[in-house]
Symmetry: C2
Subunit: 144 residues, 2 copies
DNA sequence: TATTGTTATACTCTATAACTATA
DNA sequence: TATAGTTATAGAGTATAACAATA
């Protein structure tokens, strides 16, 4: 693996520091005060994937299986996901989101955007364009 | 405040989700196993600012004052920062980084880059260019 | 009175280790 | 034997509330 150029190194440092700080601020901007960031993220994943086993969710969210057990149980208790037996493998379970979760995600979009808009609204056109172009790349990076 | 366009909304959602997941992965990539992400971030801030009071650090890192008290105490115990009395105000203190901290940051850069390089190395040229262009914007966003 | 920083305490999230059930 | 999920437990990091010292 070759060394990064100096500019790349600076970009990497900026990225790391910014991601850590932004995440701390976003944690405080819970749409529903009773939902943790990971719970929100799991619901988002389910909204995209439709359904997943607890193990798949743990891998996708980069969390250990016991943590996902707890998260799924909390979400089920709040009526936001349903757990069903796996059709082929009786060890596994299938997690799906409820209509209530879908409505919650929809309702929350306004509030979530309101916060991020206060931040991105202070960027100029060029800066926002750069960030917007990078958003899918960041998402890919988080999934690698 | 005007509504965001649909594309902006998608970018905002991608941003939020990616930042939360990346932060979880970065947390595991501690250069020094004994330094938490926030401790690292504080050292980075001090490297840029030179000196700051605990209150200033708490605001910059978006952490409550008691948390910063603890973080600064831990860093001092590790010989990475020095605490001096404030020249004008005897309630406040001044935090500065030690030479040891500077050396540690320098030494750690290689390892930190190695991890991020494994991720960004899987991006193509175009994706990496987009991410690199957005890095300073993300940093600005975290500071707003 | 207001502000800076600290102490005491509790909570949330996550991890590791050990276990159960199924493949 | 290996894998999916769970239970029990511990640890890290942060917050809130109450307090001390100084402005």
């Amino acid at each position: 693996m070759p060394d990064l150029s100096q500019g790349d190194e600076a970009a990497v440092n900026a990225l790391r520091s910014a991601v850590m700080r932004l995440s701390r601020r976003l944690k405080h901007q819970r749409v529903d005060e009773s939902l943790s960031p990971t719970e929100m993220s799991v619901l988002g994943t389910l909204a995209r994937c439709g359904r997943a086993t607890p193990g798949e969710l743990a891998r996708k969210e980069h969390v250990q299986p016991p943590s996902m057990t707890r998260i799924v149980a909390l979400l089920e208790g709040k009526g936001l996901v349903r757990l069903e037996p796996h059709p082929d493998d009786r060890r596994q379970k299938v997690v799906t989101q409820t209509e209530q979760a879908e409505a919650m995600l929809e309702e929350s979009r306004r509030r979530r955007n309101a916060f991020l808009a206060t931040l991105t609204g202070q960027l100029d056109e060029d800066e926002w364009a750069k960030l917007r172009a990078a958003a899918p790349v960041l998402e890919k990076l988080a999934h690698i």
